[in-house]
Amino acid sequence: MVELLLQFRGKIATAKLLILREQSQKELINILKNIRGKKCLVIDPKLGDSLSLIIQTSLLKEHGVELRHLSADHIQTDCTKVVYLVQSQPNLMRHICSNIHHDESKGLQREYHVYFVPRRTVVCEKVLEEEKLHNMVTIGEYPLYIVPMDEDVLSFELDLAYKECQVDGDTSSLWHIAKAIHKLEFSFGVIPNLRAKGKASVRVADILNRMQAEEPVNSSDMVMPEINTLILLDREVDMVTPLCSQLTYEGLLDEFLNIKNGSVELDASIMGLQQEGKKTKVPLNSTDKLFKEIRDLNFEVVVQILRQKATSMKQDYTEMTTTSQSVSELKDFVKKLNSLPEITRHINLAQHLTTFTSKPSFLGQLDMEHTIVESQSYDICFDYIEELIHKQEPLTTVLRLLILFSVTNSGLPKKHFDYLRRELLHSYGFEHITTLNNLEKAGLFKKQESRSNWLTIKRALQLVVEDTDTANPNDISYVFSGYAPFSIRLIQHAIRSGWRPVEEILKLLPGPHLETKRGAFSNSPSFDSLSGVSTGIAKVPDGRRALVLVVFVGGVTFAEISALRFLCSQEGMAYDLIIATTKIVNGQTLVETFMEKLGG
């Protein structure tokens, strides 16, 4: 199984994705080069996180950069040139304005540059204008639309996209996504097949087609487009999966330690380092061979694999010290020794994870998630959640289960809805009325208005799989130990045979769906739907498998990514997958985007 995963993952056409990273790096350096001399680069913290995947701090310093984070506090630097690099969000303008006003009041003469990511916007400039700073700053753009997170994962880094669309009605992110895909098409060619499900996804497809009409990618230059199909899926369609606790290794790491831009930060002592009280950063990406091998596996299995590796290492060592060995045997042993740091690292991490996974509260939560997904015992679930509120368990934990409960029941009866809302306000404070209001607007926690389709969907798509063998899985349900992520099940169908066979199910889900051909292929009837076995269409000329780009509008979890990689590794799969998302999320971070305190 593990070997299979490795074998196919290696084939993913990643070279071009890496070029994206280089391009973005070059663009940033060019911006810095054009502003001569020493300069203070002020980055908004969120953007700083994504930039760390594009460029190293040392490289910035080589270009005469002093690095600062943007905040309301004024900037302390000797540089006379200040370069702000910020996402084009109006609230960040406030900080820049107060910075400059402070300098003015102190009589400091500085040269200000504001570079907007990914582009300048009327709103941001309006704020500068109203503060009468418009003429003092030089405005530029840094068109960073996509950040490659790993060799097969791209992120648009739009962490608020889902909330902004669903609650505020601000669909900026959809334009951003379309623009990013359109940019990809300039290097990969026009993607001939498109499948979308959900209001936002269909809108992205529409904007993308408009962009293609107004600023066409010249498809005649490409003999055969490298990306065969684009699948767009709204997070709204499946809000069940991200709220369930992920049980893959990488998923669990994210649940408990919060993976940020491909690394986790934890106490040095956990990693066996002798630095009391200090934090250490552990990188987690596919350059770590062992991690690449085990990241997508169910955590139970990971523990076994690590144990085996440790045991065999120990055995080898004992043999080494007790019996005489030939040179080649010694060589093999040394080779094995090289992997020792990786093994140690993951044994430390896994051990640390077990302290969380063995807690009764976690097991209870898992149990409840399964009960809710099974959707058989309404009262048990209701009582459990009520009790969590009464015990004043952390609000995100409560909301996570509550949303899962509400979504699978398509809302709660008015009496229960009002009761739980009241209990929440009483327990956590009235300032959370805004959070509740946001969740209601987004349809995540609401009054029941129609019967739930969840049972029908669950059965039709076989989402709950009995007897899941997590060690030798034959279905994506292994990632949640028995629950097959609904989103990935849909994508599985979309890849295999298009929307047609699941049309009835799609109609039960929110938002329209779309299946269409694009570019030069839009009029050719012979270029029909994808089929499971490779039919020649699926092959690019040099024999590599064609690509399918799966875009999650509103976020994707590591467990879902693992499930997609699993699909990729299956025999008969004609495509490699690239995954793109507005942001990598988990239940906690997703719920947090909706939380907004009145007084906050």
């Binding site: 109006p90 709103v123 334009w175 009764p360 009520e386 009790e387 805004t434 009145l598």
Partner: protein
Amino acid sequence: MANVSVAAEWQLLYNRYYRKPELYPMRWKHVDLARHKVAGAPFGGPVAVIRDDSKIVQLHAESALRKLRLFNSAGHPLADAVWRHPGGRLIGMSWNDDLTLVCVVQDGTIYRYDLHAQLVEPNISMGKECFEQNVADCAFWGNGVVCITEQNQLFCIPDFRNPKPVPLADPMIDEPPRCIAVIEPQYTMSGNVEVLLGVADDPVVLVVEEDGVQRLGEGLLRGPLQKMVVSRDGKWLASFTHDGRLLVTTSDLTGIIIERECEADENLRLIKPSLPEAVEACVDASGHEFDVSRQRTLLRAASYGQAFCSNFQRDRIQEMCKILRVLNAVRNPEIGIPLSIQQYKLLSPSVLIGRLINAHRHLLALRISEYLGMNQEVVIMHWACSKITASLSIPDATLLDILLDKLKLCKGISYAAVAAHADKNGRRKLAAMLVDHEPRSSKQVVPLLLSIGEEDTALMKATESGDIDLVYLVLFHIWQKRQSLEFFGTIQARPLARDLFITYARCYKHEYLKDFFLSTGQLQDVAFLLWKESWEFVKNPMASKGSPLHGPRIKLIEKAQSLFAETKEHVFESKAAEEHAKLLRIQHELEVTTKQAIFVDSSISDTIRTCIVLGNHRAAMRVKTEFKVSEKRWYWLKVFALATIKDWVALEKFSKEKRPPIGYRPFVEACIEADEKAEAIKYIPKLADPRERAESYARIGLVKEAADAASQAKDGELLGRLKLTFAQNAAASSIFDTLRDRLSFPGAS
């Protein structure tokens, strides 16, 4: 036509044959080249003619006013204009690369004309020195000019697109030069223009640049030059010497040119004629031929010969036919562009089409671009714009129909660009009608719509595009332009614009947002804003806890409450606001009575816990009753609060008050969490569910009791799980194994 006559046209010059065919009999009348200044454009372009005012001429039947007249190459009149410019004599005129006629007069002013003899504004000045010293002579190249003053100073404009005069180095000559020529900037080493001056009585050529003067040709020339011409590529210089010789040298005057290599190749072709080469030669020759019947003869010969060649590229003939059709069409005297095939290839078809549309030969341009499979958009676009300019008297609707009729020929044409042109010509209504047909909603269309006052359409197009930035652009534009109420009405009808306005106003225009919600009757949203504002009092440093500032704060919340109460959909929010106000009052009182500022802004549950922790059970009870806190919640809160202060006696007493409504689980959990096993053991046996009992025992490490409870529950899965919990403890795990064996449930593992 007899072969003899064809051959007779060719004359030997040095080592090459040349011929001078007459392309057109000139159609113009009364143009005596001797008494006119003439400027012919390269590439078969137009000819400009004006009476030479430096010569005394006799006027025939013509006006005394001088006229600048433009003809095509066949002498067909194109346009004319009366010349009344001040500034002295016309020194020189020439066509530059974009077919603008450039005329230099004595005081250094440069007048420019387009193809239709319309003056191109603004006029250009060669600068103060030229004005004071007078221009004596000038030399042009593709896109620039050099002037020499009467005091022999040189000034140049390197590029008419950026017309700034630049002084060149002083050539230090007393007499005016005999002749002048320029090497274009693109062919010089320095990238700046080089001016060649043939000076009197000195067998050299002076090369003048911006930063110096060089003497060239010393030892090579035997006397002063009378006339110089530089080849188009700047490599060669042809000059006419004082003793009547024609000299071709390299343009740096380092050697006299004699060529041999090409000749050998040509001889070879003559000596060893093979069929494919002959066919090739016929095709080539047809291309160079101006006479249509000779073209036909040559191509027929080629096509005949081609049949006997196995590997001749057949499409060569086809291609040539295509080129010739185009060339013959533009050579037609009506059009009058006598391009040679080399010129055509150098010029490229798209530039030729550009020239045709500039000359308003739209139909031919369209036909040619169609024939060559080129994009017709440029032609149609230009036609549409010219049509609008020329049709001031045609009503909008009629003109629109005329335009649409042609615009629809070209898929993807920018209606917006045509509309922009209409707007520039003062036809705003026509512009609006045209934009209506624009399928795109891009960055160009929306600002255009705003500039022609079509705000609603602009908003619609921006919304369609999905580009939020465009929507904001329109939004701010309308906001600025309209009265509040009208503005509110506009955006209320457009959900996206409305939502974006709200998002922006939430950050920056709070009061204005309230006005908006009031105007649209969204009272609940006003209520939310007020409720939010009530927290501003907390942030205010003056509002220290327990201060009377709570008065206004509570008032705001109550105002919010009454607004929520206006609609029946917001009963819940109204009730919550009411409770919030009540809570703040109670908390305020509690802070006064306890003299501890720890209550305000904590939740109801937290307030109850704090009261119990402080030992104030009456206050806790009061909060419970005031807010109708359920017995369930009350038990959890009180149990946890008592455990926090480790008041185990009070806890036990509480457990015995009455049978707890949710059983003894809260008691067990609180004790286990506080790590008080002894206390926990008091309550575990009272748990009703044996599974819960088993798990609780297990959590405090009582293996045997756990096992007993589990076997009572008859739950194999539970036993397995408990065994795992005690995995390190060998004795314990064996207990579970035996128990499980005894149970032996099917499927239990």
